[in-house]
Symmetry: C2
Subunit: 404 residues, 2 copies
């Protein structure tokens, strides 16, 4: 039995400060200040349990940050600095990533591990990572990411998406590899611009959804396609999700068409997403921000993600989800309730989109949490202080911005 | 005589690592690694000098960050968290700031001091701050900022701009107060949307430039006005700068019209700015980013600034100029040379725009510098690590992200 007591914590929804007792990886008790006894090494525990008390001094406790859209396998974090040199546009980046990957030994479990370490130091406790699957790399990226997650020793839980980054129909052999990845236990099947990149949206989505059905996998489709072309593909995804009863297991990533749409189209698409049980993932770009308020009102879960972090697509990013929430909030509004919605997408919304069980800060939930020196959620996002403490499954995994 | 030796520093433009000897607030020597003797308490120094050696282990030394557009007087940093509640638009924010200022005791030298401390911890060594001057606050904001700068004890040098935030012509009594501020030694006279806010661009600019001429002051005009209205006001400012020979002393802040302009108009405006010796200031907003490459080619100095930090205008901001450079680079380009231009606007470009003498990292320059654990300028902007060391006038003022 291991116990950890967090004293004098501020938790949104509780009037005053509370103590929070964690036992065996879950939140066991939550009480008014000083009501809980301190954990003690009990004779029957045999002395092998870990016990501790942390005085938080009124700091804010948030549930562990959820990165709902990462590309861990692509990262060069901890590796060489590679000046960006891709041709402009989506296809330029795809080609650059494919062609220069071997030059830097990508995928590389060392780089992925280094990035996971920084993500933990920043308070992320769960990540959904798209992982390239293509005829050149085969399942090598899946293996590298799995190795790194294993090495990281439970500090972050990870869900992988078998992702046809080079296209599926236009890249023969990819579909079979995606199926291999699912057979090997990868949880989710990815899609990529069924029209814009893969050139045959109906066949692309039919193949992706067929694989999902066959293997009980989730679906996460990158949809950069904007305007009416993107909006129409929303419809294709909504139809298939409804027909196959895959509500709660499907995500549209980026979803730029929603930002492009006129108000009527936007409302129609949002209502379709809500009805079908489809979530959205965004990386909070400068342009193409999701309308969080409307999505929240309609009950569409939104997850934020850091996207690629320092890779052959972009030199930017650090893996910090509070920073990502700030990018979103800077665009969607400065009011506390807007900033809270942005943070929600990096916490509870992400958990809903990714269907994480027992996520949160109530008794019985997994003890995944992050402590920040802030008075409320909005201040945490605006200031993004060093994370005072990060707890994963009841264990302290980072302190004062450094990995433990 | 005080001496500080920085060993094993990486400085852009130098092939290998160098040692840097600082003496009496200036860079005294710059040599290949291990060529310089360590500073020693010399008998003739009388024992009152400060001497030190810092091993940088190959970390990157940048010149001190320059915040070229701040509103120190408005900040609530270190004070209460105030949920944002302004009506939308520029006038909503202006009114909100004016009306709610007394409620929170703004201006407040304590808040300004707290913000200056965070700016120092983030590596800023010089700031140009606009300071509200209006019939309600009189010169109270000028006094509060001056008091805070004084208290901050030389860790940051500051230039103030007497700024008619509530308008000048539309706010009777303001023009006389601005003149009082200049008489009291405020270095620069500000203007604000001569057309959009003050409703009479010719009279507004004539008054501002007349005050500048009379008191030998610089000019810094906030120009949110976009499109053709903004572009036309560029012309008015260019004409006045030329006629009065004020080249090198005039800045246009925000300058959104430049981002709105068609390519021909943009080129004509840029050429006019370059010819007249006018600088631009930007806060790197999501929309309305300045075209740094073209401005650099034309020789127009650009300074970046943090704008208001946690105030009645916006809850965002921390005072970190590397973050501001990242905002700019995220919009203007991921290549190393683009990111370097963004950082230039937070360093050398800012110094040119603000006419700071002896700024830089060559022998004879003021020893204002910041040390970061990065391999090059682009990495410093992308990662924004805790500042390892901040030196102002040869004195260590922050270490590992904390004020010394």
């Amino acid at each position: 039995m291991s116990e950890l007591l967090l004293r004098d914590a501020r938790i949104q929804g509780h009037e005053g400060p509370v103590d929070l007792l964690i036992r065996d990886g879950r939140i066991a008790e939550l009480r008014e200040l000083r009501e809980l006894r301190e954990p003690r090494e009990s004779p029957e525990s045999g002395g092998d349990g870990r016990h501790g008390v942390e005085e938080l001094g009124g700091k804010l406790v948030l549930p562990g940050l959820v990165d709902g859209h990462a590309h861990l396998d692509k990262s060069l974090w901890g590796g060489p600095w590679v000046p960006h040199d891709a041709a402009p546009g989506l296809m330029g980046k795809i080609r650059n990533g494919q062609e220069r990957r071997p030059e830097f030994g990508v995928p590389n479990a060392d780089f992925v591990t280094a990035l996971l370490e920084n993500m933990t130091a920043c308070g992320t406790t769960h990540v959904r990572s798209h992982v390239d699957v293509d005829p050149l790399v085969g399942l090598g990226s899946v293996e590298a990411v799995r190795e790194a997650v294993e090495r990281h020793g439970g500090r972050i839980t990870a869900e992988l998406v078998a992702f046809p980054q080079a296209g599926m129909l236009i890249s023969p052999g990819t579909e079979a590899l995606l199926e291999e990845a699912l057979k090997a236990g990868v949880e989710t099947i990815g899609g990529l611009d069924p029209a814009g990149v893969d050139r045959d949206p109906v066949r692309h989505l039919d193949a992706v959804f067929a694989l999902a059905e066959r293997y009980g996998a989730g679906v996460d489709v990158h949809l950069h396609d904007g305007g009416t072309l993107g909006a129409w593909q929303f419809e294709l995804i909504i139809e298939r999700t409804r027909v196959l009863g895959l509500g709660g297991k499907v995500t549209i990533s980026h979803a730029f068409a929603l930002a492009d749409a006129d108000p009527d189209t936007r409302d129609r698409l949002i209502s379709g997403l809500a009805g079908a049980g489809i979530a959205l993932a965004s990386v909070a770009p400068n342009r193409g921000l999701l309308p969080l308020r409307r999505l929240s009102e309609a009950g569409v879960p939104v997850t934020l993600g850091n996207d690629g972090v320092r890779d052959l697509w972009s030199p930017f990013g650090t893996g910090d989800m509070l920073e990502r929430a700030m990018f979103q909030a800077k665009g969607t509004g400065p009011r506390d309730e807007d900033i809270e919605l942005a943070l929600d997408a990096a916490t509870y919304g992400g958990a809903r989109a990714l269907a994480l069980p027992d996520y949160g800060l109530t008794v019985g939930d997994h003890a995944d949490l992050v402590v920040v020196d802030a008075r409320n959620a909005a201040e945490a996002v605006c200031v993004r202080p060093r994370r005072s403490l990060v707890v994963k499954s009841g264990r302290i995994v980072a302190r004062d911005g450094d990995l433990v």
